[in-house]
Amino acid sequence: MARSLGFIIVLLAVTSICDAVAIFHPISESHRSAALELFSPAAGSFSGLEEAYEALRTFEVLGIEKPDTKDHTCNSVVDTLSSSSSNLKDLYHSLRVNGLLKCKTSKEALTGTVSRLKGGVKEATTLLDYYYSVGGLLLVKDQSSEVDVLLGNADGILRSIKALSQSDGRWRYSSNNPASSTYAAGVALETLSGVISLAASAIDENLIGTLKNDIVKLFDSIEKYDDGAYYFDDKVIDASGHQGPLSATSAVVRGLTTFASTSGTLNVLYTIPEEKILGLARFFLGVGVPGNSKDLVSVPLILSLPATVLSLTSNDKLKVRVNTVLGSIAPPLSVKLMQVFSSGSKDAPVLKEELKFDPKEAIHTMDALPEGVDIGEYVFAFEIVLSDPEDKRKYATGGRTKVPIHVTGVVGVDNAKLTLLEGDSVESEKKLNLPGKNDVALSANHLQKLHLSFLLTTPLGKPFKPHQALFKLRHETGVEHIFVVGNSGKQFKIALDFLGLVEKFFYLSGQYDIELIVGDAAMENSFLQPLGYVELDLPKVPEKATRPPSQAVDPYLRYGPKAEINHIFRVPEKRPPQEVSFAFLGLVFVPFLVFLIGLLRLGVNLKNFPTSTVPATFAILFHGGIAAVLLLYVFFWLKLDLFTTLKALGVIGIFLMFVGHSTLSHIASVSVKVKSA
């Protein structure tokens, strides 16, 4: 059995960084770790026999120590094989796993399996039924020689499979599903070759002839990438899932090669154009799938360059490696550099320079780059010439191979200087060390000019125009101005006349940081260099001037915590110290004391107080009432509110009016009597 789908998926998953069309990479540690990552058995076992097969096969191909899952997997293999209820697909996958693990299976189980598979072939209606049962029989044939797996009615089976083919070379999965698929074509060819090798009697040659026509038609639907890689694509999405270009192409190639080898019709492959076979090889190399030498008859030779970026400064040599598609060593041959196109040009002189071959490393080298190749982008055209004309039939060279080459080097930066001019007279001039640390500190006003100039030369002394030559001024507030430094030949120059730039600078005076960027893909010493700063003194902003654009807020500041705010409470009114208040309280009582002393001095008495009972009672009640009112005032001060106080005052007032009236009228009548007496 050929490569598995799982293996392909793994390799697709770990496609390496390079654009691998031109360069072949053997399997590396990263492929292995990725495979282990993809196929990690959960709790000591794989989720199904299909996954188990993919994992085990991948581990085998990549040379990985198998995780210890043999017992568990073997158990399920034996279970599946001896169970009468397992379907064809399960049988097929368990036989595949068995082929890898060599589990202990009894002869009876195998015989039972064979009879079920043969029954499956007879009753099969869909392509996959055929595929699983025929594939299963082939596996049994490989694993045990004691069981009879040969098919009696091979011609009949072939015809019923052939009935599923379409006129365009594709196949259908089943007779009641009209959609045809390229992947199915590969599966069908593989099944057919299985039937042929299992056939008990000879096969009808006519039938094989029609199949060959199908194969040729199938190659009409092949698709092409820009880089010359050919592939088959499958547009149909069905129950078995979508088959990408990789699995479709591999299915076709696998089906084709097994069919060609079992049916003895290798010559069918010669009818396929060489460039398509080479293109298929390119396709597999592009995704990093190494092949198996049975896959292709005319072995394509692949010309690859370990490095397409060459440094002139460190004298990198142009190295070319020629391998077969499969990564094995190519037959004796020579490589010639035919032409060197500089970027953009269509024509170039024919060089026909032969590269030196180093048999130890199997690399063709060119010690020095062709004359006149300076830094920049080129396209080198190579041709492979086979030393032995006999090999021409065995190997496909693919004609002229064009490889884009980047030649890099250190660009000389000289005569760099920053000048400040007023009119035409030089105010100050600073030499710059580029690339390197510079610390320019200038101050200028709007009537002055700033000049920057430097020379750029390639290693061959030619003028060099870099991809980026930018002069940048950045104001303290973050407003940036970028100017392109123009050139005439080697000389790069920029003149900033601040008078004309005032408006562009938004009249922002202050410190401007200066940066110079010179960069190119071919320049090994590309740099972004701060040069220092210039302090600009610009005129005041007129009213109608445009405002500078607002700068993006620093995300860290924008989301940071805000400054705390504390409420400022009203300050309470200023009060004198308590001692002062108490002192005045004491003073306030002085007049009262004086009043008391005065009364005593005057010799007051209570001789007029009524002596008879009734008036005396009224007088006591009257004064008691006054005392109550005064006391009420004290309580009002201490705790009562106005409403309670007024109510109480009303009651006491009416009482007071009554007793007051009788008391006062009594006193009045007594005093009238005294006067009249």
Partner: protein, 410 residues
């Protein structure tokens, strides 16, 4: 026939209910079901490490070709997915009912989106980006080039594979593990509208100008970043070599953020009371001392963990903040602070506006009126007034004595 259709509807509704119960919710904010739209199903394998990292974290990925006529984001008014990954830069028109408006509605409803473009980005993808405030470079031939910091390669000399190592300093976006190796980027540039920082509904959207950023490629490389290469004069002597680019870690950590496995906050148990009391009053008086408490938790992908930070702030707000205070935390999720109510009365709000880079923005507001002193709440016995009181009472006493003297003295 009728019976059959009823049964079908019933089964359909059960499966729908099941699906709903399994989806994005307030209690379980991590996304569950993600629709992945690709131009070519081969992407499933070329980006398999990214997808399998999502799958192992429990996401259900539904891969569809972007022109599949059966694409639908919602059915019966319910969204079928919690997240959308658009790895289909070239698509001009989605299949099914999906269009720019549908995607924007999806984001507006709080769902998450990852869009990756590359040099072949179509107008459709550009429109989606533009609606979200991201402008991709419109020149179709434009590339991002950095001559200062690029992945040194023997085969690619155009400096378009950029090695970036200046990441945003945010643990919530990029995880706590430092990304050691530079991240490789090859694609187109974009600019972000500075006024547009995050979705107001806490939906998370990721735009990338490089689809390769997410791919399994980019393993061993050598970076030429200025500060990683030792130079002598102009010549590079050694370069840092990395066994693996930081891309895988970078996109995995970012996807954890985008799909709400990190940085999703919730605030619960918001309460306030006077110091020394426990009941929440309906109104505060000026100069009251009050205490405000809130609990904040962060979703860790599987459970709510206490959120610990020292920058959660409370505002006591009426037209403008009167008090803005940083709350203290007990490291178990509880944030508290106490302050004195300002001596200004009116209708105030307790406001917590918590916006941090990468985190869900919390916006809590609770209205509370503040009244002035009642007439009997002022100070009653002011010592400064004692002379006046004394004068009144001595006059009253004198009056009382005088009434006797005047009436009965002879």
């Amino acid at each position: 026939m009728a019976n059959f259709s009823i049964a079908t509807v019933f089964i359909a509704s059960i499966s729908l209910l099941f699906a709903l119960s399994n989806s994005f919710s307030l209690e379980n904010p991590t996304d569950r079901r993600i629709l992945v739209l690709v131009d070519d199903l081969a992407l499933k394998s070329s980006h398999s490490i990214f997808f399998s990292s999502l799958q192992t974290r429990g996401f259900e990925l539904d891969f569809k070709l972007s022109d599949d006529p059966k694409i639908a984001l919602q059915r019966y008014g319910q969204y079928l997915y919690d997240g959308l990954i658009l790895f289909s830069p070239t698509i001009e028109r989605f299949g099914g009912s999906l269009d720019v408006a549908a995607i924007l509605d999806f984001v507006d409803s709080g769902k998450d989106l990852i869009v990756a473009a590359d040099a072949s980005a179509s107008d459709l993808i550009r429109n989606i980006a533009a609606e979200c405030g991201v402008d991709f470079d419109e020149d179709s031939s434009a590339v991002v080039i950095d001559h200062g910091s690029y992945a040194v390669s023997g085969t690619e000399g155009d400096h378009t594979l950029i090695a970036a190592d200046d990441f945003i300093q945010s643990d919530v976006l990029l995880g706590t593990t430092k990304i050691e190796a530079p991240v490789l980027f090859k694609g187109i540039g974009h600019s972000l509208n500075p006024a547009n920082s995050l979705a107001r509904n806490n939906a998370r959207v990721l735009f990338s100008g490089s689809l390769d950023l997410f791919s399994n490629k980019y393993e061993i490389f050598c970076s030429s970043s200025n500060h990683q290469c030792k130079r002598q004069g102009a010549q590079i002597i050694t370069c840092n070599r990395y066994a693996k680019s930081g891309n895988q870690q970078f996109v995995t950590e970012l996807s954890k953020w985008v799909f709400h496995e990190r940085g999703h906050l919730k605030a619960v148990n918001v309460r306030h009371h006077r110091v020394g009391e426990t009941d929440e009053p309906a109104i505060y008086r000026i100069n009251d001392d009050l205490e405000y408490l809130v609990e904040i938790y962060e979703w860790s992908g599987s459970s709510w963990e206490p959120y610990v930070a020292n920058d959660v702030q409370i505002q006591f707000y009426m037209m403008s903040p009167y008090v803005l205070k940083t709350m203290s935390t007990d490291k178990k999720g509880l944030y508290r602070t106490s302050f004195k109510v300002p001596d200004v009365y009116g209708v105030f709000q307790f406001k917590v506006e918590y916006q941090r880079l990468g985190y869900t923005s919390l916006s809590l507001a609770k209205q509370i009126p503040v009244r002035p002193f009642r007439h009997n709440e002022y100070e009653r016995f002011i010592p400064t007034a004692f002379p006046y009181y004394g004068a009144s009472f001595s006059t009253m006493a004198a009056f009382f004595i005088f009434s006797f003297v005047y009436l009965y003295s002879k």
